[in-house]
């Protein structure tokens, strides 16, 4: 019990003095997950919207596949990315394994289906609401998509935030493809796993607090967004 208490105290101390390891790891975590978020959003937002508007032959199958991908265990994603990037794999020549880029790739694969799925649901709802009006106003395809994206922007941001939350808290995949290398690919979650294993609870807890704070911020933002949406405040 004493050991834990001492750990907590020291953890706070690390945060207060802005311990260089802690800062470095936090910044790297944010960089990796934010980049993954940008890439995943660029893929998932248009795709989810398109899926909501367009009727095509394999639409149902695509949606089912999307939902299945959402449930893909991150560790398995890690394994697959590892195999693809490893020296004998198809992308081995790029030498990306155990780099932040590899971690970004893994996170993009994990969160793209999530963001696309939330986007699809929100856009489908909005589209069924707007359909008759937008057709009646003789809008072009581009104008329709613009109206949907603009009026659904809060939901889309919620989707993106949910993706970010998942990315920053993920550990299994990035551990495999990043390798948790000090000063290179060590991020919040992998560092916590390592420090806990070593028995260095102070740093583990300090990193843990930072991670909790980040998750809290993301969730508060989601909450605030959904409240403005519900109350229709602008």
């Amino acid at each position: 019990m004493n050991e834990i208490w001492a750990g907590i105290q020291e953890a706070f101390w690390l945060i207060i003095i802005l311990d260089s390891d802690l800062i470095e790891i936090t910044v790297r975590s944010l960089k990796v997950s934010f980049t993954a978020l940008v890439v995943a959003s660029a893929l998932a937002l248009p795709f989810g919207t398109w899926l909501a508007i367009r009727r095509f032959r394999y639409r149902r199958v695509t949606i089912a596949a999307l939902n299945a991908l959402m449930g893909l265990p991150p560790v398995v994603v890690g394994l697959i990315v590892y195999l693809l990037l490893s020296r004998s794999g198809p992308f081995g020549v790029l030498g990306l394994l155990f780099t932040p880029t590899a971690m970004i790739v893994a996170q993009v694969i994990i969160i793209t289906p999530l963001i696309a799925s939330i986007t699809h649901q929100a856009m489908r709802e909005l589209w069924s609401e707007y359909h008759d009006l937008l057709i009646s106003l003789n809008t072009s395809k581009r104008q329709r998509v613009a109206a949907l994206i603009w009026d659904g922007r809060r939901t889309l941001m919620t989707a993106a935030l949910a993706g970010f939350g998942r990315a920053i808290g993920e550990v299994g995949a990035i551990m495999i493809v990043g390798g948790n290398i000090d000063h290179a690919t060590r991020v919040l979650t992998t560092a916590i796993a390592l420090e806990t294993g070593k028995g260095d609870f102070a740093l583990a807890l300090g990193l843990g607090f930072v991670l909790i704070a980040l998750t809290l911020v993301v969730n508060l933002a989601i909450h605030a967004l959904s409240r403005t949406e519900r109350e229709g405040t602008w």
Partner: protein
């Protein structure tokens, strides 16, 4: 705007949904001129008829042809839906939207929006979110948004269903002014008093078909079918 006549011809149009016939088969040459009112009991196919004319409802069979090219036809028409569709934006932005779509310049849009907000009595809630307006206010906004582009043909599906007496009169004034300015109107209503006040021509629908049509003055005094007579008396039609 000049008040030139416009016509539409329906060639054995039918609409089927889930194996059930909802409208038609209907063949009709219709000169849309002045104030046309579509009457009929619930489920008669009035809404479907309006949507088919406007081209927002897919027909299962047959063709609908306006006397002007398709692309121009819808551009010059406007539709007020039975349950108002509000963009999740402010009242101001809802009114501005149809004008923005056609690329009108900003200053002109601002003037028109203010002008129309006054006409529909929503000038004090311009920055209020439209989805949070009351049902009646939403209907007024939907009407303003439809009229703001001065359409050639205006479809109205029970535009006064949720309005009180006073608002109804105000809307009727707006509609009369619109017809005088050259807009042709096709409207459904369950308010026979309103139909009497406004209609030039009546289309009476029953069970998905056009059962009877004629000049309003004749229709209300001497309807030629027993179903129309029963409908005007408020009887149950079989």
């Amino acid at each position: 705007m000049v008040n030139y006549p416009i016509s539409v011809s329906l060639n054995s149009v039918s609409v089927k949904r889930r194996g059930k016939s909802v409208l038609g088969p209907l063949s009709l040459d219709f000169k849309v001129d002045g104030f046309n009112i579509v009457l009929g009991p619930n489920g008669a196919g009035k809404t479907t008829f309006l949507k088919v004319l406007h081209g927002v409802e897919r027909v299962s069979y047959g063709t609908v042809k306006w006397s002007i090219p398709d692309a121009k036809a819808r551009q010059s028409q406007a539709y007020v839906f039975q349950s108002p569709i509000m963009l999740r934006r402010s009242v101001r932005q809802n009114l501005a939207y149809p004008l923005q779509l056609v690329g009108m310049d900003k200053a002109e849009i601002t003037t028109r929006v203010v002008e129309w907000a006054q006409k529909i009595g929503l000038q004090d809630v311009l920055d209020f979110p439209a989805p949070r307006l009351s049902g009646g206010e939403q209907q007024k906004l939907a009407l303003g948004r439809a009229l703001i582009r001065t359409p050639q043909v205006l479809f109205l599906d029970e535009p006064c269903a949720n309005l009180d007496g006073r608002s109804t009169r105000e809307i009727e004034e707006l509609l009369k002014n619109a017809t005088q300015a050259g807009t042709h109107i096709i409207m459904t209503t369950h308010d026979l008093g309103q139909a009497r006040r406004l209609a030039g021509r009546i289309l009476f629908f029953l069970n998905g078909t056009l059962h009877e049509q004629g000049n309003a003055s004749e229709f209300f005094i001497t309807p030629s079918t027993s179903a129309a007579r029963a409908f005007l008396n408020g009887d149950i039609i079989e």
